[in-house]
Every structure is written in structure tokens, then in C-alpha cells.
């Protein structure tokens, strides 16, 4: 897994609540048997119409907004457990998703793919959403070690929570499989005594 420390980038303000995994990656694109290529179909039905024409209304298609940070409305990632949603977002180029609330399974899937879900207060979300909308060159700085998200040019900052185990995994580029394999003995003993 890729190591994650500090990300400084402009952001894309996707001001929609309850973005579900069917929007992030529609089911008809789940037929692949590897993890590649999902990025081009991220938010497919928002970015293109049925005939494949680009929808210029969609913020993701507006060239003034760029960056590896996605700012989204409350309750991001609800719905299916499909990890393809996380692959679509990383494939599209995102490293961080900022929202005021994430669905459980999505959050876990994101963390397992070096995609950092940052939960901030609704007030702070509103502030940065507006800032970025009005001024697309606004730079945000995410510092995982210190658990902070800041607007670079202004003294605007908030800290965020993250499970300490997951934080260590992200920073060291270490994943759950490595960890679980290191516990193999204890697992086998457990099986032997309990099951």
C-alpha cells in the first residue's frame, strides 16, 4: 500500500448529500476482474448522459476545479459494499475525501486503499465548500500525522479523528493482511480452543 503523509492540493467541491456507491460507480461497470480502469467511470452517469455526451453542468467536468481532494456533502458512500467505489475514486486521482459523515463500509474500504476519508464538522464543511466553490485555486493541506485539515492561505483549520491503528497503517503503507498474518499463531490457537 502507498504511504500517506501530507497532501497539499486544490479541491473539487461536490456539494451533494447522500452520494451512494451506485453513483460513484454504477453497477454495470463492475464486471472487471482486476482493480484497474474504474477511474474513468467514476460518477459516470453524472458526468455523461445516456448517449455519452459530457454534462457540462457537472462540477467534475468544469476545468477550473482540479485536485486530489474531493469535498462532498453529508453521508458519503452509503449503499453497497463494493470496493470498486474506492478504486474508482483513487483511479480518478483522489487521495482524500472530505465530508461531515461517511457510511461505515465505505470508510473501511477507502482506508484499505490509501484513500483518506476525513470527517469534519458540518460548519467547517460548509466553510471550505463555499471557499473552494468561489475560489477554485484555494489550497487545502491535510496532515495525517497531526490529524489536521487546513486552508493554506488562511488561518482556518480543524482536526479530525482516525482510528490509531488505521493511521499507523496509512503512514507506514502497511495493510491488514500483513498485520493479520503476523497474528496467525493466535488465530490458530483460538480456532483450536474455541471452534
Amino acid at each position: 500500500m502507498e504511504k500517506f503523509t501530507i497532501v497539499t492540493s486544490t479541491a473539487i467541491p461536490l456539494d451533494v448529500e447522500n452520494i451512494d456507491t451506485d453513483q460513484i460507480i454504477p453497477a454495470r461497470f463492475l464486471k472487471a476482474t482486476n482493480k484497474e480502469g474504474f477511474g474513468e467511470n467514476a460518477f459516470r452517469d453524472w458526468r455523461y448522459d445516456n448517449f455519452g455526451n459530457q454534462n457540462d453542468q457537472c462540477i467534475l467536468n468544469q476545468k477550473i476545479y482540479t485536485g486530489s481532494i474531493l469535498i462532498a456533502g453529508n453521508n458519503f458512500g452509503c449503499g453497497s459494499s463494493r470496493e470498486h467505489a474506492a478504486w474508482a475514486l483513487t483511479g480518478y486521482g483522489f487521495k482524500v475525501i472530505v465530508s461531515s459523515f461517511f457510511a461505515d463500509i465505505f470508510k473501511g474500504n477507502a482506508l484499505n486503499n490509501s484513500l483518506l476519508p476525513i470527517e469534519i464538522s458540518p460548519e467547517f464543511l460548509k466553510r471550505i465548500m463555499e471557499l473552494v466553490k468561489v475560489k477554485p485555486t484555494t489550497q487545502l493541506r491535510i496532515d495525517l500525522e497531526n490529524q489536521t485539515i487546513a486552508v493554506v492561505a488562511e488561518s482556518l483549520q480543524e482536526s479530525f479523528d482516525i482510528d490509531l491503528y488505521k493511521k499507523a497503517c496509512m503512514i507506514q503503507g502497511y495493510d491488514d493482511i500483513d498485520f493479520l498474518l503476523s497474528k496467525k499463531k493466535a488465530i490458530e490457537q483460538f480456532e483450536f480452543s474455541k471452534i
Partner: protein, 460 residues
């Protein structure tokens, strides 16, 4: 210490707790299917890791399978490849696979209970969010992502912080025509789609005690739609009887031993929950959704509420409904009875009972998709297939079908579909399709009338 059902099952499966981190939770049963497993198999191969307990894995093909002509080669090349890869992977690793056409094939959450694989007091995972279905047996069952599928392959464990506990109690008697689907749609309409986030939910009270296992599965299936990781119902006589004599059920003395253990599982009197909600059964009516998440539901005679927020407006625009409008008398051209929420024999019996002697409206395309080969066989044995065919319904072959429209079963753009599935997200049943979630009884009535009708009037 007094413990909840959830505590008892969770605590007995913790291998180790990591300080300031998750628990290592041992998994008894791992279900897999063609869509969320290939990348996990690849990952293991890449790292040269062996599957730890292939004997604890059961595989089926369901998400991406055609529901007609299953005996013919699959037309869509990508879908075919996914199924071939599943078969290869299972073969290579010695995993039991009920592939397309097998007498035990079907939707993963329908086949495991009907084969007696799902049992009380166990932990069960699958790369699919509706794994919560199996909680109906008093199991801890939840959906996982593909990375976690790989973790379970490698270690038979998942890493998860223990969720908080929530209990929903409903006492009293349900009105005629109110089914399990209405109960869960009602709960979600009251609590919203993220009330359960971070929680495991127990359903308690008369209403759930009096339910059949199949109805309990419908309820637990949709607990994920209120954000909960899973739902659970305490095992009781109904549970034991359902499991007895099924293919993988414990037999003889072992069964008696298991039942004795299962009896220790229900929540202790006085055990504390982090959050509790109470509802009255008499309040519940047949339900319909009008929006683009399962929390946007109303009682059949109610009008769509008037709200101002942007996401509410966006949903109504997508559905082409107006605030304050009533859904009764809306013409409907598509009806889907199927999905892991409502594709068991009980659901088809309810539908058949209503349909018998009536004719489907000519404007309606009505798909009936059984949850498994066994359910399909039962539909034929009980003579329900005759009733459906005489009335003009299409009985198709088992699979997820129009629930997620990954195969060819798609609802056309801008069309409404009254569906017994579990998600009404934008485009879920096809690009631009508009889903109205309802019970199998409501769906059957809609197909007959060609529009939404007040089923309660007919029943009285």
C-alpha cells in the same frame, strides 16, 4: 455482567483486541460471489498466500447472471469471464461452488439460510452489504469490501472495532396487508438512512417474535439501509425448526447440543443498549418510497412531505414527483418481485394469493425472479407458476436481476418500477430508472391494476 445477544456472539469470536484499534474477529462462514471476489483471489496470488480455511467458504454466482436461458452460454463476454474466473478460483482452492444451473444456485443471501449454512451464534461475512440478512438467525453477519474478503481468505478473521448496540422494539399486532417489508420501510422512514451508522441493531418485541424466518430475513436484510452494520433477531423455536433437517444443519445429538447453546443467546434481561427506539405495530401501514433513498418512504395513503433541502428537491426531480402529492392512482409500467429482500417462497405465495384468478394489466411488464433454484422448484411444485403464467407474469430464473441491473434486466429510462428490492438509488435498476420500493403484495396489486392502489381498502 448482563449481555446482549450481539455481545454474546461478538465476545465469543474475539481472538485479540488491539489497543486503540479494532478487534480481531474470527469468522465462521464466508460467502463469496463473482463480483467482489476476483480481486481478492488476485491479491492472495500476488503475495503467494494460501487460503486458510477453504472449507469455511461457499461460493455462488448471482449478481451478474442472466435470468433466462441459463443453460446457454452467457452472451455478455465480461459477465462470462467473471463466472469462469469464479469457477477457476474455486476449483484451484477447493471451495464449494454452486454455479449457474446447479440445484443449489441462487442469491447468496437466499441460499445460505435455505441450506442450513446460516446458524445462530455464528459470525458470517460476504462481500455484499445485504449480508445483514443472516442476522435473522441470531448470527453476527455483515458485508465487507474486497480487501477484507482477501483478509478472510488469508486469516479467517476481519479487523473491526466493536460496533455500538441499538435495539428497536415493536409490540402489538400488525394490520392485515402489512408485511415485513412494510415494517422495515416504516422503521427507516422514521429513523433515516444513517441512524444506525456505527451500530449493530437488534429487533425485538411481539412483531418480530411472531414473524416467520423468511419475514425476519426481510427485516434484517434492510437494516443496512438505515446505516447499521447489521441487524439481529434472537433465535427461538421458529429459528430452530427452520434449521432442523436442512442440508448443512447439525444432525441428531449435535443438533440437540446446538439448540441448547442457541437457547443461551437471547439478550439478558436488563442488558443495556447504547440506543433504543420503540414503535407501535398499529401505526404501520403498507409503505411506498417516493425518493432516491430507502428512508424516503410514506404510508400508502400519505402525501409526499414538503421539504426544502437540496437533496430532497434533487430526489423529487429525479422521480418526477411533487411535494404534497399522493402516489395512489399513479400509472406504473414495470413491476419486479425478486432480490434478496423478497424472493423467498413466502413472497411468491403472497403474490400468488392476490394474483389468483386475476389478470395483469396490459401496460405492465412484470418480472418474477426467484431467489434460488430451490425456490424456483417450489414455485412449480406448489402450482404457483400456473397462477403467474395464467395472469400474464414472467417467471424468470434465479439471480439478483433487476435489483442492481448488472445483467440485461434493466428498467428503461424515466419508467417507474414498483420493486420488492431494497434500494431506490438513482439509476440502480437501469440508467434513469425510477424505483418505488414496496412489499410483494403491493407489487402484485400494482401489476394487476397497472397503477398504485390502496391495498388496505381491498383487504377490508
Amino acid at each position: 455482567m448482563k449481555k446482549t445477544l450481539f455481545d454474546k456472539v461478538w465476545d465469543s469470536h474475539v481472538v485479540q483486541s488491539i489497543q486503540h484499534g479494532p478487534d480481531i474477529l474470527y469468522i465462521d462462514t464466508h460467502l463469496i460471489h463473482e463480483v467482489t471476489s476476483p480481486q481478492a483471489f488476485n491479491e492472495l496470488e500476488k503475495r503467494g498466500i494460501k487460503i486458510m480455511r477453504p472449507d469455511k467458504i461457499i461460493a455462488t454466482a448471482d449478481h451478474n447472471t442472466p435470468t433466462i436461458n441459463q443453460h446457454l452460454p452467457i452472451q455478455d463476454a465480461l459477465s462470462r469471464r467473471q463466472l469462469e474466473q469464479l469457477a477457476d478460483n474455486c476449483h484451484k482452492h477447493g471451495i464449494t461452488l454452486y454455479e449457474l444451473g446447479h440445484k443449489y444456485n441462487g442469491i447468496v443471501h437466499v441460499i445460505a439460510p435455505e441450506l442450513g449454512i446460516t446458524q445462530p451464534g455464528t459470525t458470517l461475512v460476504c462481500g455484499d452489504s445485504h449480508t445483514s440478512t443472516h442476522g435473522a438467525f441470531g448470527a453476527i453477519a455483515f458485508g465487507i469490501g474486497t480487501s477484507q474478503v482477501a483478509q478472510v481468505f488469508a486469516s479467517q478473521c476481519v479487523l473491526l472495532a466493536k460496533p455500538k448496540s441499538l435495539r428497536i422494539t415493536i409490540n402489538g399486532n400488525l394490520h392485515p396487508g402489512v408485511l415485513a417489508k412494510d415494517v422495515i420501510l416504516y422503521i427507516i422512514s422514521q429513523l433515516g438512512t444513517n441512524a444506525g451508522t456505527g451500530y449493530f441493531c437488534e429487533f425485538a418485541g411481539d412483531v418480530f417474535k411472531n414473524m416467520t424466518m423468511e419475514s425476519r430475513m426481510t427485516v434484517c436484510n434492510m437494516s443496512i439501509e438505515m446505516g447499521a452494520r447489521g441487524g439481529m433477531i434472537a433465535p427461538d423455536e421458529t429459528t430452530y425448526k427452520y434449521i432442523e433437517d436442512r442440508k448443512f444443519a447439525p444432525k441428531g445429538e449435535l443438533y440437540a447440543e446446538k439448540v441448547a447453546y442457541w437457547k443461551t443467546l437471547p439478550t439478558d434481561k436488563g442488558a443495556l443498549f447504547d440506543k433504543e427506539y420503540y414503535f407501535d405495530a398499529a401505526e404501520i401501514q403498507p409503505m411506498l418510497t417516493y425518493g432516491t433513498n430507502p428512508g424516503m418512504g410514506i404510508k400508502i395513503n400519505d402525501t409526499i412531505p414538503k421539504k426544502r433541502d437540496a437533496s430532497f428537491k434533487k430526489a423529487l426531480k429525479y422521480m418526477d414527483f411533487k411535494a404534497g402529492e399522493c402516489l395512489l392512482e399513479k400509472p406504473i409500467n414495470y413491476v419486479f418481485i425478486g432480490s434478496c429482500t423478497n424472493s423467498r417462497i413466502e413472497d411468491f405465495r403472497v403474490a400468488a394469493q392476490y394474483i389468483k384468478g386475476r389478470q395483469k394489466a396490459s401496460n405492465v411488464t412484470a418480472w418474477l425472479v426467484p431467489g434460488s433454484k430451490q425456490v424456483e422448484a417450489q414455485i412449480h411444485e406448489e402450482g404457483l407458476s400456473r397462477i403467474f403464467e395464467d395472469a400474464g407474469f414472467q417467471l424468470r430464473q434465479p439471480g439478483c436481476s433487476a435489483c442492481l441491473a448488472m445483467n440485461a434486466d434493466k428498467i428503461p429510462k424515466n419508467e417507474y418500477c414498483v420493486s420488492t428490492s431494497n434500494r431506490n438509488f438513482e439509476g440502480r435498476q437501469g440508467q434513469g430508472a425510477r424505483t418505488i420500493l414496496a412489499s410483494p403484495l403491493m407489487a402484485a396489486a400494482t401489476a394487476i391494476e397497472g397503477k398504485i392502489v390502496d391495498i388496505t381498502k381491498q383487504l377490508n
